[in-house]
């Protein structure tokens, strides 16, 4: 017994117990080390995983702001429609990629199965319209015109319609108040593309897959203001996707409203009169071509001369902007963009450019004065001039003897301006120009803003063109290879002869170029908005504004009002004296000049009008009608392509717009109560905290309230579907 200790342990057992203890403790150390590795070293990684694990974001789209006219009448707002949409992801899970379901859906919606199938396929270069050009992960709208009954049919038989939903959704609506259309100015929306989503992410702006983006017009320029911010509720969810709490919430911020300077009623009149003028032109015989005028397109701009704000802007041909709502059909799209369409999507007021004809003479007058010609001098107005071996006729071949510049403007004498421009061309060195030619006629036009963008708040404006020496050189560089190739041929036709000349020295500004230029013919191109801007400046004493349509951004609750202040682009290149002189001359155009025959009975003493007519010749086409006019408050510029003479084609239409705005009756009396806008409106419409927009009542008129009070915006927000939190994650199973 002596070698058995009291504790009952032999040394072997003692050693083994120590081994056991070491083993046990090292196991625990292993655990501690691993715990440190997971929690401390890699903790942040797992924290991120945990966060993504149990937070689901539910996005509530923001209601897009309305576009209002100057009095608060909605030009674009939202309405609640029952939108039936299909989830591509769900459809593709079905055996036949959802064909059966879509065909069944087509039956319920009374649509053709092919049409429904077409709407859900993705656009690519080979796919003809219709197709879906939004994100493939976003529900694709099939129709936004479902009836309640159809929606119920779909939602009550969900098992028959997997992947199909029918929900009330706020949908853009172009309200066309008073029959105005304003389509090209308003623009349109279409779904966000994947590229835009990635781009927005990089910039840190948030775009949703379900977002619509302004593609043109005001919808595009003011897209970010109108869109607002989608609300995101971050729910903590459990392993089954059930909501167990809120992790955070950012409320949806409805988009702000855009108050424009457009007056829906004036817009309506402008659109109607442009249309009428074109219709009349199409019944008018053109002596030159021996056929009726085609009047294929036209534009009219009404501008507040004191601010450069656009009160009406119409472009013909036009279209119904509502075709874009809820996705455009293939047929409609072809109608808007096809070769035969004549491109109604173009806003010809800012994108249509043509030679200005005699409306350019106001600019030439400024140029002549700047060049040093006596403003009170008299200049010969023969029936024709021979310059550089070519005969340049006065328009309609009349001779008026020696006349003032004012008279030259009134009767639109071409030869006065030929002479002045030719003289300048000679002074600048003729065919061998000086090193630093003065080029007064070109410089002045540029200083009036021609050849460059006005900067109006609409996308895709074009610059027009002033064919100065630099342009001639650029043009020569671009074309000389072609010219010189043609020049080598033996052909003796006119084009070949010109090519032969151009091949040698096509970059030289010739006498003929300068002469033609001075009366707004030749290579000069202007846009209606540029002309409206110039004549506004002549009216307001020389300030060239940056034209705007947006007048103010007002938050949805009406609390935050941001006015869009008129910006000054520059000063007209004319002294007060010159402007006064031109001003008087242009009044003469109305009282006893080229436009007088159109303004008989006009209350000129009460509402003095000023105008300049223009009839621009276009190679191979009928003449372009230009009519640039202004009163003390407004400038109205109308142009009709292949529409005849300035006063003939556009005169009556422009007069009617003035009549409507000032309330001028047939007998020449002024009825203030019927005046649509006797003076520009600087007051903004009020928006209440509840989102109701108060239409400004004109103090001078008891005009009936418009039919489209855009309270639908509020309704639409309330009618949006509740947060979609029912998405379940696949269940987890665990076995022990």
């Amino acid at each position: 017994m002596s070698n058995i200790p009291e504790t009952g342990r032999t040394p072997r057992v003692t050693i083994r117990l120590v081994v056991l203890q070491i083993l046990v403790l090292s196991l625990l150390f292993t655990l501690g080390g691993r715990l440190w590795f997971l929690q401390i070293r890699n903790g942040s990684e797992y924290t991120a995983q945990a966060n993504s694990n149990n937070v689901q974001e539910v996005v509530a789209p923001a209601v897009r702001g309305s576009i209002l006219d100057d009095k608060g009448v909605a030009l674009a707002d939202n309405e609640t429609r029952l939108v039936v949409s299909a989830s591509r992801t769900d459809l593709l899970k079905q055996k036949d990629d959802g064909k059966t379901v879509l065909t069944r859906l087509a039956g319920v919606l009374h649509m053709k199965p092919e049409e429904v199938l077409g709407k859900v396929r993705l656009c690519d270069s080979q796919t003809p319209k219709p197709c879906w050009n939004g994100s493939p992960y976003q529900p694709i709208p099939i129709t936004d015109e479902a009836t309640t009954q159809q929606a119920l049919q779909i939602m009550e038989r969900r098992e028959d319609f997997p992947g199909i939903t029918a929900e009330p959704t706020a949908v853009r609506r172009y309200t066309a108040p008073f029959g105005s259309n304003t389509s090209q100015v308003l623009g349109y929306l279409s779904p966000v593309t994947d590229d835009e989503l990635t781009a927005a992410e990089k910039k840190g702006r948030s775009l949703l897959r379900s977002d619509q983006i302004g593609r043109s017009g005001l919808e595009r320029t003011y897209d970010s203001e109108l869109r607002g911010k989608a609300g995101v509720t971050r729910y903590e969810v459990d392993n089954l996707g059930r909501v167990i709490g809120k992790a955070g919430e950012t409320a949806a911020e409805p988009g702000s409203h855009l108050v424009t300077s457009i007056d829906a009623r004036v817009q309506r009149v402008a659109e109607k009169e442009l249309d009428e003028a074109m219709k009349v032109a199409r019944k008018t015989f053109d002596k030159v071509t021996g056929s009726l005028y085609k009047a294929d397109s036209g534009a009219v701009v009404v501008m507040d001369v004191h601010t450069g704000q656009v009160i009406a802007m119409a472009s013909a041909p036009t279209y119904d902007p509502n075709v874009w709502v809820g996705g455009i059909s293939g047929k409609d799209y072809a109608k808007l963009t096809g070769k035969k369409s004549n491109f109604p999507l173009l806003n010809r007021a800012i994108q249509g450019q043509s030679a200005p004809g005699s409306t350019f003479k106001a600019i030439s007058t400024s140029a002549a004065v700047k060049a040093g010609y006596d403003i009170n001098g008299r200049y010969p107005c023969p029936s024709s001039m021979t310059i550089g071996g070519r005969v340049f006729n006065n328009f309609e071949g009349e001779s008026a003897g020696s006349i003032t510049l004012a008279h030259a403007l009134e009767i639109s004498c071409d030869t006065v301006f030929y002479g002045l421009s030719y003289d300048q061309w000679l002074k600048d060195g003729g065919t061998k120009p000086k090193k630093h030619p003065k080029d007064w006629f070109y410089k002045t036009a540029k200083e009036y803003g021609l050849g460059s963008l006005t900067g109006i708040d609409l996308p895709s404006e074009v610059t027009g063109r002033i064919p100065d020496r630099q342009w001639k050189r650029d043009y020569y560089e671009a074309n000389k290879n072609y010219w010189c190739k043609v020049a080598k041929s033996d052909k003796q036709d006119y084009a070949s002869q010109i090519a032969r000349e151009n091949c040698v020295d096509g970059y030289v500004m010739r006498a003929g170029d300068s002469v033609n230029y001075a009366i707004g013919q030749g290579d000069t191109l202007v846009t209606p908005i540029q002309m409206a801007n110039i004549y506004s400046a002549i009216s307001n004493g020389g300030t060239l504004y940056q034209p705007t349509i947006g007048k103010a951004i007002i938050s949805a609750d009406g609390k935050k009002v941001t006015r869009i202040k008129p910006k000054v682009n520059g000063k007209a290149p004319a002294t007060k004296n010159t402007l006064k002189y031109i001003n008087e001359a242009l009044e003469g155009v109305v009282t006893h000049g080229t436009a007088a025959w159109r303004f008989g009975g006009w209350p000129q003493d009460k509402i003095p009008l000023h105008a300049k007519t223009g009839t621009a010749e276009v190679a191979g086409k009928q003449t372009t009608s230009w009519f640039t006019t202004y009163s003390k408050d407004y400038a109205i510029v109308m142009t009709i392509s292949q529409g005849g003479t300035g006063s003939g084609g556009s005169g009556p239409a422009v007069r009617k717009i003035y009549e409507a705005m000032y309330g001028v009756q047939k007998d020449g009396a002024i009825d203030n109560k019927k005046a649509l806008l006797p003076h520009p409106l600087s007051k903004l419409p009020k928006i209440d905290a509840d989102g109701t927009i108060k239409i400004t009542k004109a103090a001078w008129a008891d005009a009936p309230q418009g039919p489209a009070v855009p309270q639908d915006t509020v309704l639409a927000a309330a009618a949006l579907p509740p947060d979609r939190t029912g998405y379940l994650l696949p269940g987890r199973r665990y076995r022990s």
Binding site: L25, L35, V237
Partner: protein
């Protein structure tokens, strides 16, 4: 205190209650307080963790958030009472009860195989008692194996006949353990069988059995594992678990889901954790079986490294004290029991925490003192009672 008064007190035949409690040989004075304290602390932490893991599991709690909390507290109380009873009875007196305990254990594990048994999470290891309570006989079988083997292996040594148990005794004791293990294997409750194997190893180690037995057992264990794998005795889910352990990225929504979510829960806890009841993984019920086998993930997420490490430290304290008890035991019987318990706790804790940390394959084993589960709670507290009983019989000098 002088030696005189000390001695006088010791041999005073009649003592008051307070005197009894304060006496040097009294239960209170001879108790291993550190061991008890660690076990109680773990139980307390476990109560909070179980509550946190279950208060939102309405499909389990039937709408009563305190369902598991109350049952867990009751289990702990019963466990504590069982420990006290074990101390009162003394480990030596239990020696005589071994045949009865063995018979009951074998009977119960066999009963599980009959229609009386219930399958939970793939293991057919439970007998439902009703009232939300159920019995997992394999937990008690662990104690029976420890007691029985300790009794057999120590009998001749403690009698002074031999220095070490002879081969026959060792073989007999192994035979004693293998029968219930085989039955548990049939359930199949692989986790419990592994724990029992480690217990057998620990017991043999402490008994002083020859190295050949110890090494042989390890070799047999390895061979057995290979055989089990090769013979296809394992269910597919068990194979899948091992596969998922080898490659956690495999099928994160399926087999790898448990371990992935467990690791996310623990990893996201960081140093100080998200705060008790604040864990998003726990509240979101992303970790399955979180109140039982995966309870450690609650600690990891909500109490962070500090809290989770505390649990490991407390387990370490229990095992350290257990080893100390084994070293100081007056007889080999006590040494073997204590070593067996330490091996049991050590392996089960390592396997349980290890699987949540992704360093061990998933096996359905509870974390001692912390996990919800009556049988396990009773068994580990009985083990604490045994350790205390052995500790009290230690020589005065120790």
């Amino acid at each position: 205190m002088s030696a005189h008064s000390y001695a006088a007190r010791r041999f005073t035949p009649e003592r008051g209650t307070l005197g009894k409690l304060l006496a040097r040989d009294s239960i209170l004075r001879r108790m291993d307080w550190l061991l008890l304290g660690a076990a109680l602390a773990l139980s307390l932490i476990g109560t909070a963790l179980v509550f946190s893991a279950t208060r939102n599991r309405t499909e389990l709690t039937h709408g009563d958030p305190y369902y598991f909390l109350l049952r867990h507290m009751l289990n702990t109380a019963i466990g504590f009472a069982l420990a006290a009873g074990t101390v009162a009875l003394g480990h030596r007196r239990l020696r005589g009860a071994v045949p009865v305990l063995y018979a009951i254990s074998v009977l119960l594990v066999t009963a599980v195989l009959t229609p009386l048994g219930t399958t939970v999470n793939g293991a057919h290891a439970w007998i439902v008692l009703g009232g939300g309570f159920s019995l997992q006989p394999s937990e008690f079988t662990k104690i029976t194996i420890i007691l029985g083997m300790a009794m057999m292996l120590s009998a001749r040594v403690d009698a002074g006949d031999r220095l070490f148990p002879d081969h026959r005794t060792v073989a007999q004791s192994l035979g004693f353990a293998i029968l219930p293990m085989a039955i548990v294997m049939l359930m199949p409750d692989l986790g419990s069988v592994m724990v029992m194997a480690v217990i057998v190893l620990g017991v043999l180690l402490a008994s002083g059995a020859s190295n050949r037995w110890v090494l042989g057992l390890i070799a047999a264990g390895a061979g057995g594992a290979i055989a089990v794998w090769q013979l296809g005795v394992l269910d597919q889910y068990q194979i899948d678990r091992f596969a998922a352990f080898a490659n956690p990225a495999l099928d994160p929504a399926g087999v790898g889901y448990n371990t992935n979510q467990a690791r996310i829960a623990i990893g996201s806890g960081g140093l100080l954790g998200k705060g008790l009841f604040e864990g998003s993984q726990t509240t979101g019920q992303f970790v399955p079986e979180q109140q039982t086998d995966f309870v450690f993930t609650v600690a990891g997420e909500e109490l962070g490294f500090v809290g989770a490490a505390l649990i490991i430290v407390l387990l370490g304290v229990i095992m350290w004290r257990g080893c100390r008890v084994a070293r100081n035991a007056t007889d080999l019987y006590g040494t073997i029991i204590a070593a067996g318990i330490v091996a049991w706790f050590a392996f089960q804790s390592f396997e349980n925490i290890g699987m949540t940390l992704g360093i061990m394959p998933v096996a359905g084993l509870p974390l001692p003192f912390v996990s919800y589960g009556g049988s396990s709670m009773f068994a580990v507290w009985i083990a604490i009672g045994l350790l205390q009983a052995i500790h009290m019989k230690r020589p005065m000098s120790a």
